[in-house]
């Protein structure tokens, strides 16, 4: 099959789009799983993380639903300095600490992202 110049450009564009979208979809699924399993669980255990989550929800009324929390985490993610590069949740947490996006919950100095993760965990329990 011969490709004229226009057809070549169309196919190429589709290929590039697929290359971007497919990993992004895969990344989204992986990321959703990451969001739902805060690393704080390894450090503090489920009970403490749940307690932290409840305290966060209580002190942040505009983030008291799972949707609101996911949206807030996602919004924060999109404020990355390299927006096209998917970040792991660990990167996002680390960036929070670097940028001073921290919050005190039950005395714990936490990244805002992981505090929201704890809240999600509390709401899902």
């Amino acid at each position: 099959m011969q490709l004229d110049r226009r057809r070549f450009l169309q196919v190429s564009a589709l290929g590039v789009a697929a290359a971007i979208v497919y990993p992004a979809c895969e990344g989204s699924a992986r990321r959703a799983a990451e969001v739902d399993k805060p690393h704080l669980l390894d450090m503090l255990g489920a009970d403490r993380v749940r307690a932290i989550g409840k305290r966060y929800v209580a002190s942040t009324p505009n983030e008291n639903t799972a949707d609101a929390l996911r949206a807030a985490i996602s919004k924060s993610r999109n404020q990355s300095r390299v927006p096209l590069m998917p970040r792991s949740i660990d990167d996002q947490v680390r960036e929070d600490f670097i940028n001073g996006n921290t919050v005190l919950v039950d005395g714990w100095v936490l990244s805002v992202t992981e505090a929201r993760q704890a809240a999600l965990f509390a709401l899902s329990a």
Binding site: D42, M43, V93, R94, F97, L104, G107, W108, V109
Partner: protein, 518 residues
């Protein structure tokens, strides 16, 4: 040579070139430096060679401020002074401790850190410490796991301590002092008044009084008050027959700026992965006295956040443990047990070590949780002060009245340190920090377990300007040309670390000045 002052006749006058009042770490250090010189040194010690409850009772005082340890148990009143029960913790002050910090009112020494460098080096051997090295890299001891946490941090670093055996000046240097031909040690010689000339420009003598009412005078060309900080201030304030407000107190500074180190539990650390983060260098091994580190706020972070200098120890435990402050942990019973253990030939484990190394049982495996116990300088505060009580002691001297007070900067600084530490732990993935609830409340209130470390400092502070301090950079009283102050009383700021190493260094420096002045 040694004389028990109780054997002297009433009305005796002692005569020397230099009279040192107080034979603790400062007085003994200065006397040793002047041993075997042409100077005739009178060394006056209020107590004897052993602990005597009757003598110790002279240190009882009133406390009208924040909760504080009973004053009669906070410093020891016999030859060797408080080194007779100190724990031996030693570290150096940092350059920032000597600087004028515009966010710390009344901060700034008239000397710099480097001025003390050579004296610190010499103080190391006096206190039976290791080499003059305080970099964590110098104390790996061949163990690659003895490395600091947060090694790349610009906000937090690891401050090292060395441990004196601890050197008990009273026993360690007794023979040397007693055998020095030019040092005349008088025990049971309690000075109750400093007497100046009529013009109040120099000191002529000190008045010594016994329980039997017998009085002795000591005259000299120069005098050093080398008592502990409360007693130095008390003695100047009580010398009020010639000057109503006390000697050297023209500017109402004597007794003010009493400072302590805030030593209290304030946070928790949970490690992200105990297998990846070694805490060995922070371990307290009281029996072996292995140098150890504490996490400290860096000078850069202290400047950025405009806070005081502070550190915290890292002690394995469990979340929810009851962690005691220094005043809670080291009660009179434990101190008496430690003293009995030492006097009894040090048989078995030392009571202090047993108490320090008896944390609550922990979970299996490497510890994940650690208690963080603060050690922070107190902001110089003129309202934190020693005055005279209306009650008098058995020698007729007004007792000391302590009004220990804090400022909002003290509490904000401690909280900020843990916030900075928390951010660094998170940034590096090392772990997370929990700040205790009491530290998150308002900046004015303090919990009942507020604690110092029996580190009395600052009551006769050092400054170039007589309106800002009682003594000059050479520890000489501005208004009395032959009176010097030894010990921690001259510290304008407290630094974050235990004060004894610096005390000995400053005493060496003062002794050198006195040598040159004669």
């Amino acid at each position: 040579m040694h004389t028990d002052a109780r054997s002297l006749d009433n009305g005796t006058t002692l005569q020397g070139d230099l009279c040192i009042v107080g034979a603790g770490a400062a007085g003994i250090t200065i006397a040793r430096e002047l041993a075997n010189t042409p100077l005739k040194v009178l060394l006056l010690e209020g107590g004897g060679f052993e602990f005597d409850p009757k003598m110790q009772e002279l240190y009882r005082g009133e406390n009208v401020g924040l909760p504080y340890f009973p004053l009669q148990a906070a410093a020891l009143h016999y030859f060797g002074g408080t080194t007779n029960h100190w724990a031996g913790w030693c570290s150096t002050y940092e350059p920032i401790d000597f600087e004028k910090r515009d966010w710390v009112p009344y901060s700034g020494w008239p000397i710099r850190r480097e001025d003390l460098g050579p004296y610190y080096a010499r103080a190391q051997s006096i206190l039976d410490l290791g080499p003059y090295k305080y970099d964590p890299a110098d104390w790996k001891n061949g163990d690659d796991e003895r490395v600091p946490m947060l090694g790349d941090s610009k906000a937090v670093y690891t401050k090292m301590w060395q441990f004196s055996p601890p050197t008990r000046f009273g026993t360690r240097f007794r023979d040397e002092i007693v055998n020095a031909p030019n040092i005349h040690l008088y025990t049971n010689a309690n000075v109750v008044e400093v007497i100046a000339n009529d013009a109040l420009t120099s000191v002529q003598s000190v008045r010594i009084r016994g329980f039997d009412g017998k009085e002795i005078r000591a005259r000299a060309r120069r005098f050093v008050l080398a008592c502990h900080s409360i007693q130095n201030a008390r003695l100047l304030l009580a010398s009020n027959h010639q000057a109503r407000e006390g000697l050297a107190n023209e500017n109402d500074l004597v007794g003010r700026f009493f400072m302590e180190h805030l030593e209290m539990p304030a946070g928790e650390l949970v490690l992200a992965d105990p297998a990846k983060t070694s805490t060995k260098i922070y371990a307290l091994d009281f029996a072996k006295r292995t140098p150890r580190g504490e996490l400290a706020i860096s000078p850069a972070a202290a400047r950025e956040h405009r806070v005081l200098n502070g550190t915290c120890s890292v002690e394995p435990g469990n979340l929810g443990d009851e962690v005691k402050s220094t005043f809670q942990f080291l009660d009179t019973t434990l101190m008496n047990a430690q003293r009995a253990w030492e006097n009894g030939g040090r048989k078995g484990p030392p009571p202090l070590a047993s108490a320090e190394q008896a944390p609550a049982p922990r979970a299996e495996g490497l510890p994940r949780f650690y208690h963080l116990v603060s050690r922070q300088e107190q902001s110089p505060n003129p309202d934190s002060r020693i005055t005279l009580s209306t009650e008098k002691d058995a020698l007729g001297m007004p007792r000391a009245k302590l009004n220990w007070q804090m400022t909002e900067l003290d509490k904000r600084s401690m909280r900020t340190f843990y916030q900075v530490l928390g951010a660094e732990m998170g940034r590096t993935g090392t772990g997370r920090i929990q700040i205790h609830e009491w530290l998150l409340s308002d900046d004015k209130s303090w919990p009942s377990f507020i604690s110092g470390g029996w580190h009395h400092m600052g009551t006769v502070r050092m400054a170039s300007d007589p309106r800002q301090g009682v003594v000059d950079a050479n520890c000489r009283v501005h208004s009395l040309n032959n009176l010097y102050i030894g010990g921690c009383a001259v510290y304008p700021t407290a630094g974050a670390v235990n004060p004894t190493l610096t005390l000995v260094a400053i005493s060496l420096r003062l002794a050198e000045h006195l040598k040159a002045a004669n």
